[in-house]
C-alpha cells in the first residue's frame, strides 16, 4: 500500500493557541476520509444523467446553485449549471456513477485528493471567515446548507456551512498549506484548537 498523506502533514505538530481573552473560540482542522466526485453533463444530456444517477444518489440532482443537498451518506452540490459535486465516504462512488451515466450524456471524474477539506468551527467562526471571504454569512442570507465558491486570500475554493458555527472550506490541495497558514494567522486573536489528520 502506498501511504496517503495530507497536504497539511507538516503542521501536525502545530499547537493550540489561546486568544487575546485567554480562550479558544475556534477549532480548525482537516476533515479526512471523504471522496469527491465531479459529475459533468453534456449539452442535451441533463435528463438522462439525472435519471441515471438518481438510484445511486437516492436524491434528485439539486436545482439550487446555493444550497447543498445533504443526506446521511453524502452531500450533493450544483457547482455550475452543468456540473455537480458529490462528496461521500464511499470509495467506489466514482466507478458506480461512471458505469451508470451514459457516456454520451455526461462524465464522472474523481477529484479525490484534489481538494483539502478544512474545518472552521466555533463561536468565532463567522468572525474569522469575515476576515477572509467576501461572502455575506449572515444567517438569513447564508443558512445552514449554503455553499459558495469564492476565494480566500486570492485562492478559489468552496465554502460550505454545515452547522450553526461550523463551516468547511474545500481548498485546492496545492494551496491548502498556504490557506492553512493564513487561517491560523487570522485566528490568533480568537484562539484555536487544532484537529489535523493522523498520518497513516
Amino acid at each position: 500500500m502506498f501511504e496517503s498523506r495530507s497536504a497539511l502533514d507538516m503542521y501536525r505538530a502545530e499547537a493550540a493557541t489561546d486568544g487575546a481573552d485567554g480562550r479558544r473560540a475556534l477549532r480548525l482542522g482537516e476533515i479526512g476520509g471523504s471522496h469527491l466526485v465531479q459529475l459533468g453533463v453534456y449539452p442535451g444530456g441533463a435528463a438522462r444523467v439525472a435519471a441515471a444517477v438518481r438510484p445511486i444518489l437516492g436524491e434528485p440532482l439539486p436545482e439550487s446553485s446555493v444550497l447543498a443537498v445533504t443526506t446521511s451518506e453524502r452531500l450533493i452540490m450544483r457547482i455550475a449549471p452543468d456540473q455537480y459535486w458529490v462528496v461521500g465516504g464511499e470509495s467506489a462512488l466514482d466507478t458506480r456513477l461512471r458505469s451508470a451515466v451514459p457516456a454520451d450524456a455526461g462524465c464522472v471524474t474523481s477529484l479525490d485528493a484534489a481538494r483539502t477539506r478544512l474545518l472552521i468551527e466555533g463561536h468565532a467562526a463567522r468572525a474569522l471567515l469575515a476576515r477572509l471571504v467576501a461572502i455575506d454569512l449572515h444567517p438569513t442570507v447564508f443558512p445552514i446548507g449554503s455553499f459558495a465558491q469564492t476565494g480566500i486570500h486570492h485562492v478559489g475554493g468552496l465554502l460550505l456551512k454545515v452547522g450553526e458555527d461550523r463551516y468547511e472550506f474545500f481548498s485546492l490541495r496545492t494551496f491548502a498549506a498556504s490557506i492553512w497558514e493564513v487561517l491560523l494567522d487570522a485566528a490568533r486573536p480568537f484562539g484555536y484548537e487544532i484537529s489535523l489528520l493522523k498520518s497513516a
Binding site: 449549471p81 465558491q149 469564492t150 478559489g156
Partner: protein, 89 residues
Amino acid sequence: MLRIPCPHCGLRDYTEFLYAGDASKQRPAHGSAEWRAWYEHVFLFDNPKGAHLEYWQHVQGCRQWLVLERDTSTNSVGRAWLARQGTGS
C-alpha cells in the same frame, strides 16, 4: 468595488472574475476562411461611452462565462446572464 450578479452564484465582488472584453461582437464561425471577419473580430473594437456588453468569467466561483451589461461612463452594472445563452438580450 464593482459587484457582478453571477447568474449561478449570486452577487459577487468583481475581483472574483476575469474580464475578457466586448461581448457584443459575433465570433466568425469556426473554420470560416473570411480573413477580414477574423481580423475585425480580433482587432477592431468600439470604445463606447455608456452601455457596454462584456464577457466576464467567474474564475473563483462557478467558472461560468457571463455576459454583463455595464455602463462605461458610470460603472453601473446591469443584468448578467450565462454566455452560453447567447449575447442577445
